[in-house]
Symmetry: C2
Subunit: 313 residues, 2 copies
């Protein structure tokens, strides 16, 4: 049996897993990222975490190490990662110095998509897309079982696809980007706005316009018309972007990740109805399923491990 | 020297080329498609065209045959091609029966993209997109030198990416699709509308609102404000879709094909300015160039030939 280490480097913690090619988890652990002390200190922390995981691996059975982090990663170098304070940092080289083995690197959204594709909700499909509904909308694309990262590995910024040309201003400088409507942030903002417009909404019984979240409208959708309208608004925009992606990539499955995806069928059923109706050429051939992702917070680390498996890249 | 035959099956004619892997053209010819007499008759015509081309190839030097046609092509079968009146037609099998060699098949927009990528404006790049501005907006995507056709080879319907959610109704049933704004048809429609709104436009000196085309506004853009506004409108929408594609795929180059692309720098310069300003993360890293395609009507047949070259798939 061969083992693979996967490292998901986040702003606060590094999550590490040691898995087999079949996805069995031998060990998992985490450590503080510590990037505020610089990239070198961060790599020292990661190396220590790796050694702790490696202590569980039988001699000579480590087949590869993979790592992911947020930001722009290309050719083993972190071109830019705002959350980690890194710029043009040769992460693969630095890890190799400390571990004696070269690590495969990827962007965290890409790694999570690969994790879901290899071990999670996409494991029975060759072509899948993971759409993560969080602060923004992130995405990763797996084609023919391989991670597709775009040119120079910096593509697949699906959250920055304009779907409403004269729409809301986005942080990227354009108007009407998908993530201005489909992120958890956008859902929360819409909920807050709807509550402020409707003093009689049942949502006020439990939340204020400052404490409402992306869950609030779903929680009240069966009993409050304003909440229902917020959910309908959200689903229309989310569906619009998902059908765009389906028309461009025609994956077998689109997996939804991030907190909003916990709504399960309340989210996927209406989205599937729009998809089946609107997908180009109809759903009679090469239909696209919409399902919740299944690995939760482990998708990144599992996917990082998969980066160095034969199937992953 | 080995030779490849490429066949571009259009609604009226089949264009055939015989080329080397370096793109040198040994012979070219065409024949009527004749699909109105059925798929079998069409295949007889294509086989005769092939034999005529083959008569120029030294014995034993034919390395492959590739063909493209409009519509939904998957696994050697034409699932649906409205222009040819074909449905679930086993084109690869039928050609093999007649030619004794299996032909590689692709959708015509995909083949054209491969042709431009291997032999045309994209030949110096690994990642390119061909966007064809015609009756609709078609597209083909080449990643790492290989044609990317989407799942089941029926993806990359980039014309049916919504960019204006509450916009104009599209033939596909959705509102605000890219091709409703960026096709030659859309440009002509907008020109007609602008002329009808401005009786004093200089465009009336040469055209009526029935004879204007996608060229009219470009022809008068330097001397007529209304014409200039039409061009500006068109470029804004076209740029919006191209930046979306750049953010999703991050190709090195986007090539523009179809009649409108003949405008050259009048089109590409303002598009490039928007791209450089709006591409996600800026153009400092992995900039995306916008250029006219270079093979014209030969792109499809050349790309069909490339389908069976090592580099193509």
């Amino acid at each position: 049996m061969e083992y693979y280490i996967g490292l998901d480097i986040g702003g606060t913690f590094v999550k590490g897993v040691c898995v087999t090619a079949a996805g069995e988890v031998l060990a998992e652990d985490k450590c503080p990222t510590g990037s505020e002390q610089g990239g070198g200190a961060m790599c020292d922390n990661i190396a220590a975490l790796c050694r702790s995981l490696l202590s569980r691996v039988p001699e000579g059975r480590l087949a590869g190490i993979g790592a992911d982090c947020p930001g722009m990663i290309t050719g083993g170098v972190v071109k830019f990662a705002g959350n980690l304070g890194l710029k043009d940092f040769p992460l693969a080289d630095e890890l190799e110095k400390r571990l004696g083995m070269r690590a495969e690197l990827a962007n965290d959204a890409h790694a999570a998509a690969l994790g879901e594709a290899v071990f999670g909700a996409g494991r029975n499909y060759k072509n899948s897309i993971l759409v993560t509904l969080g602060t923004g909308v992130g995405g990763g694309i797996v084609i023919d079982g391989k991670l597709f990262e775009g040119g120079f590995a910096v593509g697949t910024e699906i959250g920055h696809m304009v779907i409403e040309r004269h729409g809301e201003m986005c942080t990227c400088g354009r108007r009407g980007c998908f993530e201005r409507y489909a992120s958890a942030t956008a859902l929360t903002r819409r909920t807050k706005y709807a509550m402020e417009e409707d003093a009689g909404s049942a949502m006020w019984s439990k939340y204020t316009s400052d404490t409402c979240t992306g869950k609030t409208a779903f929680e009240f959708m069966d009993t409050d018309r304003t909440a229902r309208e917020v959910v309908d608004w959200y689903i229309k925009y989310l569906a619009c972007g998902l059908v765009n992606l389906a028309n461009i990539f025609r994956p077998e499955v689109i997996m939804l990740g991030g907190g909003v995806a916990a709504q399960g069928e309340r989210l996927t059923e209406p989205l599937q109805a729009v998809m089946d109706k609107e997908i180009f050429g109809g759903n009679g051939f090469a239909a696209v399923k919409i399902v919740p992702a299944s690995l939760g917070n482990s998708a990144g680390a599992m996917g990082a491990a998969a980066l160095c498996m034969k199937s992953g890249r």
